[in-house]
């Protein structure tokens, strides 16, 4: 038996011993222990060092609000986690844990010199100390601060664990499985609601686990709990432990983080470490309870000083006496019960020191019966001890005067400054709070969500009150869903009701300037710091918080916010509500990135769409690039080839014979209906009425503002049927825009849009031999200039497959795009590949496609345009139907500034030194002007030698259309490059190559 374990106490299973290590030393515990409870069972309180002063610290709490006992946990390679709360982490055989923020050891730490220099490290000391000399900031101060900042060691290896997520719907979600939550879940479930009950602890019961002597309905608390849980499960309530409700989002969406494996010695296969649940609940009952407040006095952070309620938890849940000779220091009745429980378990309680001048008779009788000395109207002014508290210095208070102090020897100080209702999730709902002066705390008021809050989280105290209120909340939630149920009845005996008073820092005879009375333990914020912040001009609690870092530690102010507010309000001489409370933000407790990422990591990070021909490209060594959600073949390097080599070869082969290209990712929309042609007229800049069936036209799509949004070739397959193509990345956006206009602006048009992007696999053949390769496979169309000229389309059969054949070109060569049903795409590709061998057919990727189109001056929307470019700017006024009454963007295009001369216009650029320009590089007219120079445009597309014999570029240049032949300059880091403005077409300006 460990030194501080009490036989017969606790819910741990002492028949199942578990051993683990802390800082390399092996400790034993029992199944059900946390790291903190197991260490405390060995009398170990020292578990960490504080952040700023490196002061020795032990656990203050027994729960997820713990600010001090943060440890690193390790489970083999990659599975290291810093800042894990020792009060939450369950032990398992072989668990390795380490303390943090210490060097060389936890007991002897060099950084503790900061503690001696505490007069220097007051609030805001960074701002004051590191002001001058200014030049020191980058080289000295910032690196120093960065090195000192951060708690725990960041993991450096990839996380091998998997994380999951799931959606859930229920009638009533109950957060917190203490007496309130259990009662709420019960009444809602009895009424017939589908109920989910979650709790962050390893087992349900909340405070009942720490108060076994309470009698409910004639049974002990634990017996009642067991039968109530069994009943809930029988009623179909889904109960989830180790599950934290981390955030309450709009319309009753609650995020839950379920920890599945951190407590297991062996990791089961296929089980995620954590799972994020997105629960959409019709009603939510918040029963998060209350958190105990520390008292603020000099030395209140010494290991062994902890919350009284937590000491009671360690005793009753874990069978651990946190001290054999504790002293209780309190301003609330609840700590008296903690004293009684510890005394009954064999501890020699040295005294109960209460700040109040009168206390209930039954409590005084209880102390008297146990022979516990009681000191009322007393304050605490300090503690002694280095790595563990040895004594508490107390003094009587008379009319706010601190009397003569005495020392009480002890091995633990159990403090209680009262209880703070947990309003975190309630506040996430944008719920309003109201200040309660009697309890000196905020209480919940109104919430816009379908949310109930009950029990201690709305300021009630005592088991009967919590049960009754929980039952009522569950009933009201059910009623809101149209379900009826009578009120539950609870017979509670030996209830532990109580009340208390609240304090700022406790009155002391010490000089306030030399007092280290901690408010935020983890961030080492003292009462003195808060008062200093106010003296230095901070008025809002938000400013006080940021200046002092109070409440900014990993516990997010669970321990410190109300104490901090009380002190700041006092310093300001204003009531608390006027000073305000900082905002509660999700997550409720620190949550892993893994839990948020869920499945979306590695290969599943983001949707990657693949064409039917993708597998072939991969097998043929393609390099890929992402385009929107798609991955597209970028180029097909042969052994030993660089990207430039491959692209040059692909371009040349296409111009000289025939290239094959997977264009399946192009967006495709079937526009069908009697209103189709009118719809096309209204959407696109071009005129469509006179486009013949079987003919294609390049279409330009603008936004309302007159700027280019998308483009593509559109074929007319029938009087009422168009085959529209869009850019790869724009497909979904264009369809949505069209649907938007159709549904909101033009409901009069009888026309429907269907996405056929994925109906068709599109194989493009380009080059002088394209027709020769394709012709023998085509039935129903003769591939001649007379029968099927450039910009024709037809429904026909290609290699026996139903096809839509387009004669179009994005390369300047004779080009065909063959669309076949997607599942046949690969077969068509392989057939063309096989039969193209005789022509030296070459697959080319998106890079060669870009080069070939740039050589012809064909724009790519989104590369040569950026949302501020008009058709005039790109020299495409020919695409605008001048006689049309309207089209999307017509009015925008008429704005004077869009017609003004001197706008940035698309031109070609040829560098004078034949170097390849940098895409995105800025352009100036006069390289000798003073810096900052006037920038007159930028390079939009630039390619190394393709087939035109030299590097080419496209650029947007102010007034570029009127500057043909002029020289502009591109300043680069190492030199300035001169370039000549040219037309945008570098190859075959007469389009002679488009003819067969």
């Amino acid at each position: 038996m460990s030194s501080h374990r009490v036989a017969g106490k606790g819910r741990i299973d002492t028949t199942r011993p578990v051993s683990f290590t802390f800082d390399g030393r092996r400790y034993s515990g029992a199944a059900g222990d946390t790291v903190a409870s197991a260490l405390l069972a060995h009398g170990v309180h020292l578990m960490g060092r504080s952040f700023k002063y490196h002061r020795p610290r032990g656990p203050v709490t027994a729960g997820s609000e713990e600010p001090n006992a943060l440890i690193g946990t390790r489970r083999g390679p990659g599975r290291f986690e810093p800042n894990t709360r020792a009060t939450v982490q369950e032990i398992w055989q072989g668990l390795e844990t380490t303390s943090q923020n210490k060097y060389p050891s936890l007991k002897w730490d060099v950084g503790a010199v900061n503690d001696a220099g505490y007069m220097l490290f007051s609030a805001g000391f960074y701002y004051k100390t590191f002001m001058w000399p200014k030049s020191f900031w980058d080289k000295v101060y910032e690196p120093f601060i960065r090195a000192a900042a951060g708690l725990g060691v960041s993991p450096s290896e990839d996380d091998p664990d998997r994380y999951a997520s799931r959606n859930m719907h229920c009638d009533v979600l109950v957060v917190g499985a203490g007496p309130t939550g259990l009662a709420a879940a019960h009444s809602a479930a009895l009424a017939g609601a589908k109920v989910v009950l979650v709790d962050e602890h390893a087992e349900m019961g909340g405070a009942l686990l720490s108060d076994p002597d309470v009698q409910i309905d004639g049974a002990g608390a634990w017996t009642w709990l067991a039968s109530r849980l069994a009943e809930l499960r029988a009623l179909g309530v889904r109960t989830m432990t180790r599950t934290t409700a981390i955030g309450y989002y709009h319309q009753n969406l609650v995020g839950l983080c379920e920890k599945l494996t951190d407590h297991l010695p062996d990791l089961p296969a296929d089980t995620p470490r954590e799972r994020m649940w997105r629960v959409r609940a019709k009603r939510v009952v918040l029963a998060q309870g209350a958190l105990e407040k520390p008292l603020v006095f000099h030395g209140n952070d010494r290991p062994g000083v902890m919350l009284a309620g937590s000491a009671q938890t360690y005793l009753n849940r874990f069978g651990v006496l946190v001290g054999k000779a504790p002293v209780v220091l309190t301003s609330h009745d609840s700590a008296w019960f903690a004293a009684f429980d510890l005394a009954d378990a064999g501890a020699k309680v040295q005294a109960i020191v209460d700040t109040r001048d009168s206390v209930r008779d039954d409590l005084r009788a209880g102390a008297s019966a146990r022979g516990i000395e009681v000191r009322l109207s007393h304050t605490a002014t300090g503690t002694s001890g280095r790595l563990r508290v040895k004594s508490l210095r107390v003094a009587p208070l008379r009319a706010d005067q601190v009397g003569a102090a005495t020392e009480i020897a002890c091995d633990a100080v159990l403090m209680s400054g009262g209880w703070t209702p947990s309003l975190h999730l309630f506040s996430h709902t944008k719920g309003s709070l109201t200040w309660d002066d009697t309890q000196t705390t905020f209480l919940p008021k109104d919430t816009p969500e379908d949310c109930h809050i009950a029990g201690a989280s709305r300021g009630l105290w005592g088991y009967e009150a919590a049960l009754v209120d929980g039952d009522k909340a569950g009933r009201e939630a059910a009623q809101a869903l149209g379900l009826k149920i009578a009120a539950g009845r609870f017979e509670v005996a030996q209830d532990r009701t109580g009340s208390g008073v609240s304090h700022r820092e406790l009155p002391s005879d010490r000089s306030p300037a030399r007092s280290k009375a901690f408010v935020d333990f983890q961030n080492d914020v003292t009462a003195k710091d808060l008062r200093l912040a106010v003296r230095e001009g901070m008025r809002s609690i938000e400013h006080v918080k940021r200046y002092t870092t109070n409440g900014m530690a990993t516990d997010q102010g669970k321990m410190s916010n109300i104490n901090g507010l009380n002190i700041a309000a006092d310093a300001l001489g204003k009531p608390q509500p006027q000073v305000g409370l900082t905002t509660f933000r999700p997550p409720y407790t620190p949550t892993t990135f893994g839990c948020f990422a869920g499945y979306h990591r590695g290969s599943h990070f983001e949707v990657t769409r693949k064409t039917p021909i993708d597998g072939w490209a991969e097998a043929h060594g393609a390099a890929f690039e992402p385009v929107g959600q798609w991955r597209r073949a970028w180029y097909f390097p042969q052994p030993g080839e660089s990207m430039d080599d491959a692209v040059r070869r692909e371009c040349r082969a296409t111009r000289e014979s025939v290239g094959i290209f997977d264009a399946s990712t192009l967006g495709k929309i079937e526009v069908m209906g009697p209103g189709a042609v009118e719809f096309m007229n209204r959407m696109y800049t071009n005129p469509w009425t006179k486009l013949g069936i079987g003919r294609c036209r390049y279409g330009l799509l603008l936004g309302d503002d007159g700027y280019i949004r998308d483009d593509g070739v559109i074929g007319r397959l029938g009087q009422d049927r168009f085959h529209v193509t869009t850019t790869t990345g724009g497909a979904a956006r264009v369809l949505n825009t069209m649907e938007d206009y159709l549904q909101t602006e033009w409901p009069d048009l009888d026309v429907w849009l269907t996405s056929t992007t994925e109906q068709w696999a599109t194989v493009a053949l380009n080059g002088p031999n394209a027709a020769a390769l394709l012709a023998p496979l085509v039935e129903g169309v003769t591939l001649s200039d007379d029968d099927f000229p450039h910009m024709s389309c037809a429904e026909c059969t290609v290699a026996g497959m139903p096809a839509r054949l387009f004669r179009i070109s994005f390369t300047g060569e004779v080009g065909f795009e063959v669309n076949v049903p997607a599942p046949m795409g690969l077969r068509l590709w392989e057939l063309l590949w096989e039969r193209g061998r005789q022509y030296g057919i070459t697959p080319y990727g998106t890079e060669a496609m870009h080069v070939l189109r740039a050589e012809k001056g064909y724009i790519i929307v989104g590369q040569d345009t950026d949302g501020t470019v008009t058709p005039y700017d790109t020299g495409m006024s020919w695409a605008i139907g001048k006689k049309k009454p309207d089209f999307v963007g017509m009015r925008g295009l008429a704005r004077p500034d869009l017609q003004a001369p001197g706008r940035k216009q698309l031109v070609g650029l040829l560098s004078e030194d034949r170097s390849k320009l940098e895409e995105g590089a800025q352009i100036v007219f006069d390289p000798n002007q003073p810096v900052p120079m006037k920038m007159v445009g930028h390079v939009t597309s630039s390619y190394d030698v393709g087939t035109s014999g030299r590097p080419i570029a496209l650029a947007l240049v102010e007034g570029g259309h009127d500057r043909m032949g002029e020289i502009v300059h591109i300043p680069m880091p190492d030199r300035t490059i001169a370039a000549k403005i040219t037309p945008t077409v570098f190859v075959d300006p007469d389009n002679a190559r488009l003819k067969l």
Partner: protein
């Protein structure tokens, strides 16, 4: 004529104690858009088009799911697609509509077993209990648009565009194994 792409071979994808996921053989699919009088389409298609979003109807080998106020997804044997297109084409003059063959656009997963709905809840934020057996919806799975056909208490189909299928397969497989592990842990 709808040979599947190489990565998507019809057949079982994953089978565990609680759920089985498989990829269906190709089938004919038509997207119908029409408004006004629907009775002529009922005759042409051989079933009564459901008038309410989410409702389904079945005829001789074909089934229709109402996806929007003027939109239906029709599944039919591939051999019938041509006939259905022709039958509706004759209505076009008097009843303009859009009937587009999208057989090549998408594929269908069948999710079957006691864990089927749990598996769908991995990627679908909807309340699946409110999509009754015999109904269907257009919704999302793992961020991807899908058409969900709830065929029975523990059976459902997911229609998804081909390019998204490898991505979906991955999560369906991961999710199935995870559910099996959950079930094993609960035993």
């Amino acid at each position: 004529m709808n040979a599947p792409v190489s990565a998507l071979t019809p057949g079982p994808l994953v089978e565990t104690d609680v759920v089985r996921v498989s990829l269906e053989a190709p089938r004919g699919r038509l997207s119908l858009r029409a408004r006004g009088e629907l009775a002529p389409f009922d005759v042409a298609l051989g079933l009564t088009l459901p008038r309410k979003i989410g409702q389904r109807a079945a005829g001789d080998g074909i089934e229709a799911l109402c996806l929007g106020p003027d939109e239906w997804m029709i599944h039919a044997p591939e051999a019938q697609v041509g006939a259905l297109l022709s039958a509706c084409a004759t209505l076009y003059e008097r009843h303009p509509h859009s009937l587009v063959d999208v057989s090549g656009r998408e594929t269908t997963y069948v999710v079957d077993g006691p864990g089927a709905l749990d598996l769908l809840s991995v990627g679908c934020p909807r309340d699946l209990d409110r999509i009754l057996p015999g109904e269907g919806r257009r919704t999302v799975f793992d961020g991807v648009t899908v058409i969900l056909w709830r065929d029975g208490e523990t059976t459902a189909r997911l229609d998804v565009w081909h390019s998204f299928a490898p991505y979906l397969s991955e999560l369906l497989e991961t999710g199935s194994r995870e559910l099996a592990a959950d079930a094993a842990a609960a035993r």
